[in-house]
């Protein structure tokens, strides 16, 4: 098992280096970094001096190595647009995105998994048909449109909930949380639901498909033949076997929640990393784009690693093989 984890770790590092290469190429070749740092009236000599002092005349691999070294230490340079260190900008906004993502991931799991199990066990029931119709609708509704509809209904028509920003936040050291104030909690409701709905539809469909597959298998028939109670069969034997593939997808889904947070944050003007990124894309703020890309890649790689290790915990067959 140790060998397996080491191999996966090595693969992860290679992936990060490749993504780092892309991020660096972005930084170096898209637009001119010098042009973005100096004013109109800078002389050629001053430009040359800046180019030399930033090391932009060095060979590509040397620059790439320096970029990676800096990145590992959390140094991504200055934002072209906001004239502040990128690492500071991201550190300020990271808590907002993480709180939003975790709440909606929790919502999606808490609702999606039971709904999926229910539709698999009672496929003909009224509620199951309802869930499946809703999930088709959920897949067809773009995230931003869900957000707009929620704003229109709860924000504009009923005026129950705030529709933009995070509300009041409290500083806990460097972490700013909106979950300890009433206005912060109210503000998170609509964005979290928006972000969760698409995930719920995916999870319902996935859990249902996997569970139905398991319920048709021979060992479930055998368990019935042995006279075990349906409750034991469904929830102890079938569910456990359903969860193996479900864990993979849900693990990867947490990464995509962070990516979809870009859309949700844009609709609700939620001051997180996604909003920072989308502003960076439309203003071609390359250092921010590069840093965000690396950060997201890191999140994905770490999640993939955790999912692979979880396999060993959930599936005994893998432990026997190794």
């Amino acid at each position: 098992m140790l060998k397996f984890i080491l191999m996966r770790l090595l693969q992860s590092i290679i992936v990060m280096l490749v993504v780092g290469m892309i991020a660096f190429a972005l930084f170096r070749f898209v637009g001119d970094p010098i042009n973005n740092m100096v004013g109109q009236d800078t002389t050629m000599a001053e430009r040359e001096a800046l180019t030399e002092s930033l090391g932009l005349n060095d060979p590509f691999m040397v620059q790439y190595g320096r970029f990676i070294l800096n990145a590992v230490q959390g140094n991504f340079g200055m934002s072209y647009r906001l004239r502040q260190p990128v690492s500071k900008l991201i550190a300020e906004r990271f808590p907002a995105t993480l709180e939003l993502s975790l709440i909606s991931a929790f919502l999606a799991l808490a609702l999606g998994v039971p709904m999926g199990i229910y539709t698999a066990l009672k496929p003909k029931s009224f509620f199951s048909r309802g869930f499946m119709t809703l999930s088709l609708l959920g897949v067809s509704l773009p995230t931003f449109l869900i957000g707009i509809l929620l704003i229109l209904f709860f924000g504009v028509t009923l005026r129950w909930l705030p529709t933009f920003g995070r509300g009041e936040v409290i500083q806990l050291g460097w972490w700013s949380t909106g979950l300890l104030t009433a206005s912060g909690l109210k503000s998170v409701i609509l964005p979290a639901i928006t972000l969760a709905i698409f995930q719920i539809t995916l999870i319902v469909r996935l859990v249902r498909a996997e569970m139905q597959e398991v319920l048709r298998s021979d060992y479930i028939k055998f368990a019935h033949a042995r006279g075990l109670s349906p409750r034991l069969i469904n929830f102890s034997i079938a569910l456990r076997n359903t969860l193996v593939p479900v864990i993979t997808i849900i693990g990867l889904q947490i990464g995509s929640i962070i990516a979809f947070a870009i859309i949700t944050e844009s609709v609700f003007q939620w001051p997180g990393m996604g909003l920072l990124f989308i502003q960076a894309v439309s203003e071609v703020d390359i250092p921010v784009m590069a840093a965000y890309l690396l950060l997201i890649a890191l999140v994905f790689v770490v999640i993939n690693l955790i999912v692979d290790i979880l396999y060993f915990v959930v599936d005994p067959r893998l432990r026997v093989q190794s």
């Binding site: 898209v30 609708l137 067809s140 509704l141 773009p142 990516a259 870009i262 989308i278 894309v281 439309s282």
Partner: protein, 311 residues
Amino acid sequence: MSDISNQKDSFLTRFRDSDLWWNFKASPSAIIAAIVTFIIVFGAIFANFVAPHNPFDLATVDLMDSLLPPAWEDGGRASYLLGTDDQGRDVFSTIIYGSRISLIVGFASVGLAAILGIAVGLISGYAGGIVDTILMRIADVQLSFPAILIALLIDGVARGIMPRDMHDELAVYVLIIAIGLSFWVQYARTVRSSVMVERNKEYVQAGQVIGLPDWIILVRHILPNVMGPVLVIATIQLALAVITEATLSFLGVGVPPTSPSLGTLIRIGNDYLFSGEWWITIFPGGALVLLVLSVNILGDWLRDALNPKLR
């Protein structure tokens, strides 16, 4: 039991067209979805003749008519069925023209992704070995990132390389390439796994024995046998591509407001949501959902009807 399914399989392959048609006639939701899709596509193609106004002809647009509500509300006018937007453009007409752009981007990017993905899948599955390993590693890495993020990144790079005016002009092409490049992986994986099965069949060996070049075997003989799943993926991805385009345009990095797609229209209307002019957002949004839902239903039906071993 396996006998019956085998018989059905051979029947299906021999009379695929007629069986598919029979299947289609038996499914009311597929028929409705097909009709809705057809109406939207028809309207988009013949937008110049179908739309009651030309919203992009400045001579006919009057700023005095801006922000009119739909015809059935107080202050609405019959000539503007779904109301007008902030510049006095007829919302119904902008939806028809907008769905044209959405569909162009959708079809073209799915086409690009399919060509790229099928080519990679064919090569990867047929060649095997180190080529296969490298291509599938790339696919794995790309698959672990959401398509929308990759499309955003490609769009950001295009913005960096081109001057602003040029980017606005080429926005549709940039979108097609961005979405196309972020969607190819699924085709590649599906085609590859089908090719690996087909590769060892006798008709391929026969082709090799009589000395046909590899690309002829791939394109003329293997490709037609792996097209079923590709068709299903393409249908479902058409819906996804339309959503992705709308999302990018909504985020302000897609097509510009001068030739709006459905997503751009929703973005324009979003600014007026709080002042009560809901129709500028809601009608384009409704059109988008109707289109995507119909295509999704068609895709679901096609998957069940062709019954490939997807997933």
